[in-house]
Symmetry: C2
Subunit: 721 residues, 2 copies
């Protein structure tokens, strides 16, 4: 809904030629006074037009009585009036040809249904005039490269701004200000602080897209409580990825309580959290749980990483730091690789004889007597392949330590090798010489390790080639008005998409059923088939292991009679080969109302819901990505075969998952959900086989099925049953 | 080994009447000069005796040529000499009647086997003379209440000490200094900074015991890499629990890499990490992974908590903070309880009309216009039962906010209600008015939530009644020299302890086996029984589901012949009723070489090792504790019955676990391990039944069993197989 028009207006809102402040105040601490003050204080060079019918001068600037009398149509109008005056002002702005209006006023969507309705009307007024709206309930936009600070955050007075390579785009003004504060306290320059508020029109995704175009931006930080335009965010992420700009997102509303709080906060729709995770992963956006996880990694992001490896070398003057870092490396999956024997020899030379020369490297007290020891060790390490990431930890420092020399040698190592180097010390003063030389420092080893882990994973994710959309023609579902396809139709769609389905016949009389049994050769499953029977086993209309004429006949008749009794449309009786596998899995797909196709792979069996073990993937993806996702399942250790078993055919499972994603994508949104359960996984080389399938049509205007379930979109959790 | 003698000497080492510094230096920045400087600088009032044969005066004090010529036997001697002089000095101290000697010198256990041997000899010399040793490779002891700072940490010059209620006891000097620094930077007073180094004699546990006796101490912080005297730590923990002093422990060497690094750091033995967890939990010691998790919670610990409830109320002037806190509450299991409707009405009165009055409470912009709004909300909350813990989050603050008034009202609320209140803000300056009034503050909501979670869990753990040791007579194992008991003997021990064992006969001929089958009535298992066959199924000598004369006869003969072929001692053939259950579990016990009896309960089945799902418990414990531990298993959701199943008999499972602990304790250490697997758990009221049992004797001087496994102590992982 936001992709069509006027992105240029938002770009212009960040670099406006003129700004009007409607409801301008002479008091620079009031909402209507702050932007006037900030625009002048932070060097905005365009025209500033205060608007206030009760004043002729505001903060020394000539003031206009109304929007209509402005000398030009401003690129940006800041609406700082209250109550009913907001609507009047928005109409006036639209009429005057304002390109973008920021509504700072609150009292809209965050107060309930009425407010939501009011802000929707404002958005309509704006849309009809080709004007963009930011807010309502927005803290405003701020661009510190040109002083266009149309924002009333108190924090800009508390902590001096400095233009820099970071863009903050946030639904919440408070969180945008908190992120600004944390980054500035760390000395990081911030160019954009943009808050969208209730998002009646402009979204975080759209502004993310705009700032991605700024060549000075090297890191984008997003805060959202609700994401409704994933396609816009995906486009921004794709562009950022091409330009090597990391995007980090704090998406709140993760849990039930958080979603409830988010809904009462902005009135926006909640997202299913697991799907959010999968979507962000697909687009190489790194998700964090709190502001510190963004700020902590910012400097590492800004420095960039030349190597994507996970090899870690730790050098410390404390043995206990070595131990704690080793613990954390294992916890995070960073590899403390073994050093080459030549490296160890060179380290031994650089240090006193009794020092440990394995990784982590304990310098013991060498630095007290020999300030060159660190440099010597680093030079020895420079040629060792074990290290992609270097952590230098100096928990003990102060009198007796030549920190300038240590910092000099560390900076020289970084410059010579291009490796990623971080330094930690307990005392902030001990870090100062390192920071002066441009090294990335942390107050604790844990923070440093978490930052190295996040940055290396994120850069690797950004560098992975984005997979292509699937080939293949569109899939057309059989005609019909029922919410579900019958099992036969569902199996036929799966078969046509190349999925390995258990051999089956659709039989319409006993003779056909007996012929099917003889042809299939061995035990069969006999199942009632009707588009109105998506949950046939609940009606006792599934008969397993039939392996005699009598058994097949009796099962067929029971299915036929049962369907007649229930009065469901006749779709025949399925006679299918009984299949065995090493382990049952389930593959599902659904069309999320916000994110579109989402694919689930789950360990199967009776307790699939009680003891969940599944992963979600947003297409497009390839088999290799499925394999990586599967490797994180609890059941993963069984894939290789344990206790003398052969390995499982994970390749076939991955191929099936990719094929299900293709079915979802090729159906053009016509499939609401697909549920393949069980999928029997066999030993390597023997493939997988799908034993049951159920496809749900995207609802248009359907009736209720015989099972009584309304044709509402199912959640992924329901999907797994 | 450390419980017997001379604890008084260690108490005296923290409050010595006189201190000698051997290797005293005139340079206050040298290891031998620091303690002289510190003792005087920090107001030590006892006698200071520098010892150095090359000087007559050290830092203005008369200097003695050697230990023998000291005018009195000092309570404490600081050994700051190097190499071979250490041993000479220790002997001289022992001869002179020194009560405790701290060896600051390094080059001992941390360098390898030779060093370990040398420090063991020093410990022997000391022990013979009744002298305690601290170190070697120790940073020393510091007591800031009396200036007895026999410690060479640089950090005391970087950050001024202040006596206070915290004791730091650490194996590592660097970590003790880092903890000191972090606490002092937060403004927390620290009395003790004690570092034990290589622990040739004095351990962290012993010093923990000493500081527990100090009535001024309100929080004890420990760092260890290796714990070898759990009984001493348990005694310290019991005393601390009685006095309400929380103990927080950073035990490094959690992972494989961490253990390897720890071993190269101090040469000490590694602990099995899961057992460490269970032991610390048993003794209400809270384990953390990094120094920040200690320091972050210190002020909350020092303030104490009147309520142990988990009800959380969040009040913030940022809607996004409300959302993020709600997410974290769910993540941490803190309950955002619903407010009473009367409370909500009163809050509505205190705030502008459109504010959300549910918990978390979004103040929106009320504080800007109405400084009394926070106080009004808090007064409304004071009578609501939802809140045990209060988080007041002010991410936005600065000009326009009357922080003094907000702090005043918050402090009044805390004083009036005695509730636990914490305050967060992004700007440190915004927190100052709250800190001045004694409120606990945090720089981020996440830190605050983590602290509330940890403190409330830890205080609840400390307040739980410690369970009593089990009743019952000692259990005597049957005579024998083999490492394992036969299955029959193992089952007999289990039966005698009241454990529910499947009905079985031990048969010595075919007729007995047939009689057993008839008597048991139904399918039976037929199993070879020999003390030399702990892994009988690996030799194909277990036959399940025998339910005919032929089958039982054939199985008996196969067992008899198989045992003859293997040449193992004849223990008969077990004929046991085939038992069914709802799910297989396993219960194990082992005698850990450091910690003694440890009990494991695990979900069972074929993949018990590939997909581990178990908990460890250190006795004594009661059934309620087992139930709590079991509730954390992945399999726990099945206990209540899912998909129409009846609940499982978890009560019987818990009773069985308690009985296994009693067997281990009542055997007086004679059982190296016990393995009950499978334990079939049935529906509620139907109990559990043990199908197989294997008891391993504590090794004295045994041979190797026929299965080839040496009689080494098994790990818990091995135990589960």
């Amino acid at each position: 809904m936001h992709m069509d028009t006027r992105p240029d207006s938002l770009a212009a809102a960040l670099a406006p030629k003129s700004v009007a402040i409607i409801g301008a105040s002479d008091n620079p601490d009031k909402v209507g006074g702050r932007p006037v003050d900030y625009l002048r204080r932070f060097g905005y060079a365009g025209n500033i037009y205060p608007v206030n019918p009760t004043r002729s001068v505001v903060q020394g600037l000539p003031c206009y009585p109304d929007v209509a009398s402005l000398p030009e149509a401003p690129d940006l109008a800041i609406v700082a009036v209250a109550g009913a005056a907001v609507a009047t002002t928005v109409r006036a702005c639209a009429a005057r040809g304002v390109r973008t209006a920021i509504i700072l006023s609150s009292g809209f969507g965050e107060t309930g249904e009425d407010g939501l309705q009011q802000q929707a009307e404002l958005a309509q007024v704006a849309a009809r005039a080709g004007m963009r709206l930011v807010g309502p309930n927005s803290q405003g936009l701020a661009n510190f490269s040109n002083g266009a600070v149309a924002n009333f955050s108190t924090m800009f007075t508390q902590l001096a701004p400095q233009d820099g390579p970071v863009a903050i785009v946030s639904q919440s003004g408070a969180t945008s200000a908190a992120l600004y504060t944390l980054l500035r306290e760390r000395g990081v320059g911030v160019r954009y602080v943009l808050a969208t508020g209730n998002e009646a029109d402009t979204t975080v995704s759209e502004l993310a897209q705009v700032v991605t175009e700024d060549p000075a931006i090297k890191l984008i930080v997003l805060y959202m409580e609700s994401l409704q335009d994933p396609e816009v965010l995906a486009a921004a992420a794709a562009q950022a990825r091409r330009k090597g700009i990391p995007i980090v997102m704090l998406k709140a509303g993760r849990s039930a309580s958080g979603m409830a709080a988010a809904q009462s906060h902005t009135g926006a729709l909640v997202n299913e959290d697991g799907v959010v995770d999968a979507f962000l992963h697909r687009h190489a956006i790194w998700r964090v749980a709190d502001p510190a996880s963004i700020v902590n990694v910012a400097e590492l992001y800004l420095k960039g990483m030349r190597s994507l490896g996970r090899g870690l070398v730790v050098v410390s003057n404390s043995g206990s730091s070595c131990v704690m870092c080793a613990d954390m490396a294992d916890e995070l999956g960073l590899q403390l690789g073994e050093l080459a024997s030549s490296t160890r020899e060179r380290i031994k030379e650089a240090l006193a004889s009794f020092a440990t020369c394995s990784n982590p490297i304990d310098l013991t007290t060498a630095l007290l007597g020999n300030s060159g020891a660190l440099g010597g060790v680093l030079r020895a390490l420079g040629e060792d392949p074990a290290g992609d990431l270097y952590l230098i930890s100096l928990p003990v420092a102060g009198a007796g330590y030549d920190l300038e020399r240590l910092a000099e040698d560390t900076a020289a190592f970084e410059a010579a090798t291009g490796k990623t180097v971080v330094v930690t010390a307990t005392l902030a003063s001990a870090l100062a010489p390192f920071r002066r030389r441009g090294l990335v420092t942390f107050a604790s080893e844990r923070q440093a390790m978490l930052a190295l882990d996040q940055a290396s994973r994120h850069f690797a994710l950004m560098h992975a080639a984005p997979p292509a959309a699937p080939d293949g023609e569109g899939i057309v579902l059989p005609e019909g008005a029922a919410p579900f396809l019958s099992e036969a139709d569902s199996l036929a769609v799966a078969t046509s998409a190349g999925l390995p389905v258990a051999a089956y016949w659709v039989c319409h009389d006993v003779d056909q059923a007996l012929a099917a049994w003889r042809q299939l050769g061995g035990a069969v499953a006999v199942k009632a088939c009707s588009e109105a029977l998506p949950h046939k086993s609940e009606y006792g209309l599934v008969f397993l292991n039939a392996n005699s004429e009598d058994a097949v006949r009796s099962a067929f008749e029971s299915c036929r009679d049962g369907m007649a009794t229930l009065g469901v449309p006749w779709g025949g009786v399925i006679v299918a080969r009984m299949e065995r596998g090493r382990r049952e899995f389930a593959i599902g797909g659904k069309t999320d109302p916000v994110f579109g196709p989402v694919i689930m792979v789950s360990d199967g069996g009776k307790y699939i819901e009680a003891m969940p073990d599944f992963c979600l993937l947003v297409p497009p993806f390839d088999a290799a990505e499925v394999r990586t996702a599967l490797s994180r399942l609890r059941v993963a250790p069984l894939f290789a075969g344990v206790r003398g078993e052969a390995p499982m055919d994970v390749t076939a499972l991955c191929d099936a998952v990719v094929a299900v994603a293709a079915v979802m994508q090729r159906s053009g949104g016509e499939i609401a959900s697909i549920d393949l359960n069980p999928v029997m996984v066999r030993s390597e080389g023997e493939g997988v086989v799908i034993v049951d399938a159920l496809i749900e049509r995207q609802p248009h205007a359907h009736s209720v099925s015989v099972s009584g379930s309304a044709h509402a979109t199912k959640t992924v959790e329901e999907m797994k049953s």
